[in-house]
C-alpha cells in the first residue's frame, strides 16, 4: 500500500494517480518539444519566427492546433474498414503509454518497477507497428498501404540494432531493471576513477550512437521518414486521417520521441541522477523529473537537428544501413563490452 504524506491511498486512487501521472509524463514533454523544437527551432533554422500569435511568442499554438483538430470532421474513407481505421491511432498511442511505465523519475518515483524494465520497454515499443499496419491497411488507400508496409519493414529492421545497442548497457550494468541501470551509472566508476559515477555514454558511446540512429528510425523521423514521406506517399499511413485521429498520430509521434529519449537518457546519460550527488537522497524524487526532462531535451535536440538537416533515405538504403552497418557494429560493441566486462 503506497502512502503519500502518511495518507494511505486505496487501490483505485493509486491507479488514478498513476494514469494521470502517465498522461502528464507523456504529454508534457511531447508538447514542450513540439513547441520548442518543431515550431520554434525549426523556424529559426529557416530564418523565420514560427507561430507568434497564439499566446506569448506563439506558445499556446499547440493548444490552438488541438482545438482546431477537435472541431474538424472525423472523416472515414468510404471503403475504409471503420473499426480498424478508428482504432489504429489508439494502438499507436498505447505503445507510448506502455513505454512510459518503466521509466524511473527518481529513487522512489516510478510507475512500475519491473525487473525486466528495458526488455519490457523494447517489447511494447514494437506494438506500435501493429497500429501503423492497421492504419495503412484500413485506410483503403494505396499510399497508406505502401506507407504501412514501409513502416513495418523499417520498424522490424531497426528493432534489432535498438535491442543490440541496449545489450551493451545491460551487460555493463548487469541488470535489465531501469532503476538499477541508473544506480549502476551513479555508483559506477570509470577505469578506477570513482566519485563522478559512470554515465554509460562514456563507455558505451557506440551503443549510444546506434541507439540514437535506430531510435530515429523507430520514430520515423527524417532521415528515416520513408513511411510518412510527404513528397511521395503524402504522409503514408496517415494520409486518410483527419481531425482528432490525425492529431493522435501526431501526438503519438512526438510523445514517442519524448519517451524514447527518456529511455535513452536513462540508459546512457544517467537518468534522473546528476553526477556529484548522492543517488539515494530524497531530493531526487523532486529534482529527478526535472533532470530527466533536461536530458530528454538534449537527446530530442539531436533528433530534431537531424530532422531538419537531412534528406531521407530510400527504403532499400535504409535497410542496408540497418543490416550491413548498424547490426554488425552493435554486435562488435556487445563483444567488446563483454570482453571488457570480464577483464575489468
Amino acid at each position: 500500500m503506497i502512502s503519500i504524506l502518511s495518507v494511505e491511498i486505496p487501490y483505485w486512487g493509486q491507479t488514478t494517480f498513476r494514469v494521470l501521472g502517465g498522461l502528464a509524463a507523456v504529454l508534457l514533454p511531447a508538447g514542450a518539444l513540439v513547441y520548442i523544437y518543431l515550431f520554434k527551432l525549426m523556424s529559426f533554422v529557416q530564418s523565420r519566427l514560427g507561430p507568434m500569435e497564439a499566446g506569448p511568442a506563439g506558445s499556446l499554438q499547440l493548444l490552438a492546433e488541438v482545438g482546431k483538430a477537435f472541431q474538424k470532421e472525423d472523416i472515414f474513407p468510404r471503403k475504409a474498414d471503420k473499426l480498424v481505421f478508428a482504432a489504429a491511432p489508439f494502438v499507436v498511442l498505447m505503445s507510448t503509454f506502455l513505454l512510459i511505465l518503466v521509466v524511473p523519475f527518481g529513487p522512489d518515483a516510478w510507475f512500475v518497477n519491473l525487473d525486466t524494465g528495458i526488455f519490457f520497454a523494447l517489447a511494447v515499443s514494437s506494438v506500435s507497428v501493429i497500429g501503423i499496419l492497421m492504419a495503412g491497411w484500413a485506410s483503403a488507400s494505396k499510399y497508406s498501404l505502401l506507407g504501412g508496409l514501409r513502416a513495418a519493414g523499417q520498424l522490424i529492421a531497426y528493432e534489432l540494432p535498438l535491442v543490440l545497442a541496449v545489450m551493451g548497457v545491460v551487460i555493463q550494468a548487469g541488470t535489465l531493471n531501469m532503476q538499477e541501470i541508473v544506480y549502476a551509472q551513479a555508483e559506477g566508476e570509470i577505469f578506477g576513477i570513482s566519485g563522478i559515477g559512470n554515465p554509460f555514454i562514456i563507455t558505451q558511446f557506440i551503443g549510444f550512437a546506434i541507439f540514437l540512429i535506430a531510435m530515429q528510425a523507430e520514430l520515423t523521423q527524417p532521415p528515416f521518414d520513408m513511411p510518412v514521406a510527404e513528397s511521395e506517399l503524402v504522409s503514408g499511413y496517415m494520409t486518410e486521417y483527419s481531425g482528432i485521429r490525425f492529431l493522435l498520430f501526431f501526438i503519438g509521434e512526438f510523445a514517442t520521441a519524448g519517451v524514447f529519449s527518456m529511455i535513452a537518457s536513462v540508459l546512457f546519460l544517467g537518468g534522473w541522477w546528476v553526477p556529484g550527488l548522492d543517488p539515494d537522497s530524497n531530493l531526487f524524487n523532486i529534482l529527478g523529473p526535472a533532470v530527466l526532462f533536461g536530458k530528454v531535451m538534449l537527446v530530442t535536440f539531436l533528433i530534431f537537428w537531424f530532422r531538419f538537416t537531412y534528406p531521407r533515405f530510400r527504403e532499400d538504403q535504409l535497410q542496408k544501413l540497418a543490416w550491413k552497418v548498424l547490426i554488425p557494429l552493435s554486435l562488435v560493441n556487445i563483444v567488446a563490452t563483454g570482453i571488457l566486462k570480464v577483464v575489468f
Binding site: 525487473d115 525486466t116 523494447l122 517489447a123
Partner: protein, 240 residues
C-alpha cells in the same frame, strides 16, 4: 557474512490476501481473450482474424504479467505481437490486402478444427491436472516463502540456508532459494539497498539460470532448429 539478502517476495498466488483488483483484471482479460478467440476463428476477414489474434496474444501476455512473471509477458509481446503477427499482417497486406469479407476464408473443415481444438484442450487440461495433482491453492499464510539471496559467500551462511543451497546443488552466487518460515527465523536479514518492485516481480534470474543450466541442451537444440528453418526459408524463397 552475508553481503546482501534481499527482500521478501511473494508469489501472487500464495500471497496473504485474496486480491480483488487482480481477480477483476483477470476476469476482464480472460473474457476479452475468449471473445477474441471465438471471433478470430469465425470472422471472414483475414486481416480481422490476425488482429483478433493480437488481442488474444496480448491477453496472454497480460495474464503472465498479472501472475508476476513479467519476463515471459514481455517476451510474449516481443516475439508474438512484435514479430510474428507483424509478419502475418505484412504477408496479408502484400498478397491479399483486399477489404471486406473473403469467402475463401470460410472453411468446410470446421468440424475437424473443432475436434482438434477439443482434443488439444483435453490433452492440456490433463497435463495441467497431472502437474498440480495434489497441490491446493493456498490462501493465507504460506509455508514456503521466496527469498532472493544475492552475493552470498557460502561459508558465511547459516546452516538452513546452506542446506537450501545444497538442494539446488552448486548454484551461482546470486540466486533465489525457497526457504520455509522456520528456516528464515535465524537469518540475519540485511537489506543492502531497497530494490523497489522486487517484492512483486523477480524471477527472470531464475528463468535465465534454468535456461542456461538445466535446459541448456534443449535451448541450443531449438536455436539450431530455428537456424535450419531460417536457411530453409532462404533456400525456398530464392528460386535461382
Amino acid at each position: 557474512m552475508i553481503a546482501a539478502l534481499v527482500a521478501q517476495a511473494a508469489n501472487p498466488l500464495t500471497s496473504s490476501e485474496f486480491d480483488i483488483p487482480e481477480n477483476i483484471a483477470f476476469a476482464i482479460i480472460a473474457g476479452l481473450m475468449l471473445f477474441s478467440a471465438i471471433k478470430m476463428v469465425t470472422t471472414g476477414n483475414v486481416m480481422h482474424a490476425a488482429l483478433y489474434l493480437v488481442i488474444v496474444l496480448a491477453g496472454v501476455s497480460a495474464l503472465f504479467i498479472l501472475l508476476g512473471s513479467d519476463f515471459v509477458g514481455a517476451t510474449q509481446i516481443m516475439v508474438y505481437i512484435g514479430a510474428i503477427i507483424v509478419l502475418f499482417l505484412f504477408g496479408i497486406m502484400l498478397t491479399r490486402a483486399q477489404m471486406g469479407d473473403d469467402d475463401s476464408v470460410e472453411s468446410e473443415r470446421r468440424t475437424m478444427g473443432a475436434i482438434v481444438g477439443l482434443l488439444l484442450m483435453v490433452v492440456m487440461g490433463y497435463a495441467l491436472v497431472d502437474g498440480f495433482r495434489n497441490e491446493e491453492l493456498v490462501f493465507g499464510e504460506p509455508e514456503q516463502v521466496r527469498y532472493v539471496v544475492t552475493e552470498v559467500a557460502l561459508g558465511d551462511l547459516p546452516t538452513p540456508v546452506r542446506d537450501a543451497f545444497d538442494r539446488f546443488d552448486g548454484l551461482p552466487d546470486s540466486t533465489m532459494v525457497e526457504l520455509s518460515e522456520a528456516e528464515v527465523e535465524g537469518l540475519p536479514i540485511e537489506v543492502a539497498r531497497r530494490v523497489p518492485g522486487a517484492e512483486l516481480f523477480g524471477n527472470n534470474k531464475e528463468i535465465a539460470d534454468s535456461i542456461f543450466s538445466q535446459y541448456i541442451v534443449a535451448f541450443e537444440a531449438v536455436s539450431v532448429l530455428l537456424l535450419a528453418a531460417l536457411i530453409g526459408a532462404v533456400v525456398v524463397a530464392r528460386k535461382e
